[in-house]
Symmetry: C2
Subunit: 340 residues, 2 copies
Amino acid sequence: MRIALIGFGVVGKSLVELLEQQQAVLRDRHGLAAKFVAVVDSKGAAVGEHGLSAGELLAAKAAHGTVAAIPGHGLKNADANRIIAESGAQVLVETSPSDLKKPDAAIGHLRSAMSHGLHAVTVNKAPLAVAMPALLELAAYNRVQLKFSGTVGAGTPVLAWAKRCAQGNRVRSLKAIINGTTNFILSNMTEKGLAFDEVLREAMRLGYAETDPSNDIDGIDTAMKLVILANHVMDRRATFSDVQVKGIRGLSSEAIESARARGNVVKLIGRVEGDRLSVAPEEIPQNAPMNVGGSLNAVTLDCEVGGEVTLVGRGAGGPETATAIVRDLIDVWRDGESKR
Amino acid sequence: MRIALIGFGVVGKSLVELLEQQQAVLRDRHGLAAKFVAVVDSKGAAVGEHGLSAGELLAAKAAHGTVAAIPGHGLKNADANRIIAESGAQVLVETSPSDLKKPDAAIGHLRSAMSHGLHAVTVNKAPLAVAMPALLELAAYNRVQLKFSGTVGAGTPVLAWAKRCAQGNRVRSLKAIINGTTNFILSNMTEKGLAFDEVLREAMRLGYAETDPSNDIDGIDTAMKLVILANHVMDRRATFSDVQVKGIRGLSSEAIESARARGNVVKLIGRVEGDRLSVAPEEIPQNAPMNVGGSLNAVTLDCEVGGEVTLVGRGAGGPETATAIVRDLIDVWRDGESKR
């Protein structure tokens, strides 16, 4: 399987390492031999039709900050869309940085790939949050797979699990704690009685929060993931603009304290209920399965038969996200094999 | 898709009702039209190559205690294995009552089906607990599907979720609360400070425990499910005799109380760790994601990348188990379609 990888940050590097480590397992168990025929980072690219060496990719990035430094394979001025089209790749893996304000480059990569007949695997939320219905249609039209397991829950297979629950049953509603940073902040406010600003500073110091934390604390990240869940699990053709979003910025210690007095905790919860998609801080009972501490994620589905089921797991991390990409690659490969 | 159904108790009836209800969805979304060409209950059978009517099956069972009462289709002296072989069914659904002491009839049905080229869907734990490695081999040899989603977690897709976690990652160990009856007993002893015998009587009165509760309270049910998890998720070719089993019979209130003093709760936990499969009451921290109340189930996997993930949901119920069968039927159908 020939892969073009766009983005060579934490997730991209973890993927290259993981595929190298798991080579034997993937070959023996799935008949899958994966190689990178192109890798694009923010400063350039490397291409090699017989597959680029994992060692060389990682060494060039570490020493020179770009894979363009690999002798004989590096390209300084690389146009990602041209590389996607001309690399001979069968699958695009999209891990470039993108946020809700600038989703266009990543959307462009996905479009280029799919219209050239490549399958696409993305861990980028923003393109799906703004254009998931259109991208799913494009995939169907071009008869290619569009996979995005790593966008929600990182390595915890939230989307596959939820889809499975929906098969042979109906998911009536969904509620989700799917942003580790805000859950870390709320857990610490609750357990240690600290103020919002204090915990936010601590979260930044520990690397749980970005220098600009608005994506997390204003509920944007939760809303993007909610859109993906709603489309994938409940067949809602929603985009980001359909979500009512309220974050936790400046939440008072009093709110936390008075919730506690009622036997509750405050969590930032994304909900799909009826036609409504919303993100807001909410009180839930202390003994609810969704009351997960630290930076954990939790998703609860209310199913027509059987009631509530809850999945709890870590929702972030480069190596974790890379495992989701590997699962997607295995699925794409199997699907291709079964059609042969 | 032509189905032969063995066993027409709570689960079997729920399945007939569910397939009737979901007819339109299954046809529109999956291209699947399911019909029952044979149904076998404890007193007889009904066969009909053009499909038996759901209404007639349920009415005959309600009025006469057997589907053999359906005019023109009923058979009084029915040999299940012969019906499996001669009914023209493509899939066997096995829901007959079976326990660890008498797994042979159900194993026989599965063997008959698979050696005649039928796919098999079972919700029976006992055959898998004693012979899962052999049955998986038989399925592979005959190139048919053997599905068993409903054996663990009823409607909660524990097995599919865990398998998904293992794809592209490695499950290092597994611990599971997978018996609702014992969890109900332990939750009530903990929350209400009652004695074991008292709660067991209450559980029987409410229908949470059988008249002979040994299957549950001696850990046998948990051990059977653990064998299925170990085979499916961690590729251990284990059977019931490989499990060290200790139940909760006669557990003292003092044990519960002293656990509480340490900030812990007592749960009946099945574990796969290294080469060891075990079932025993254990203390876990009160705030662990696995500390689930009532009759809930919880399964925690420890993954090489990403650490622990936990799934919480109901683990019993006829209609719930029927949704698992429908999911398996959809999978069998899709797999067949993709090979055409």
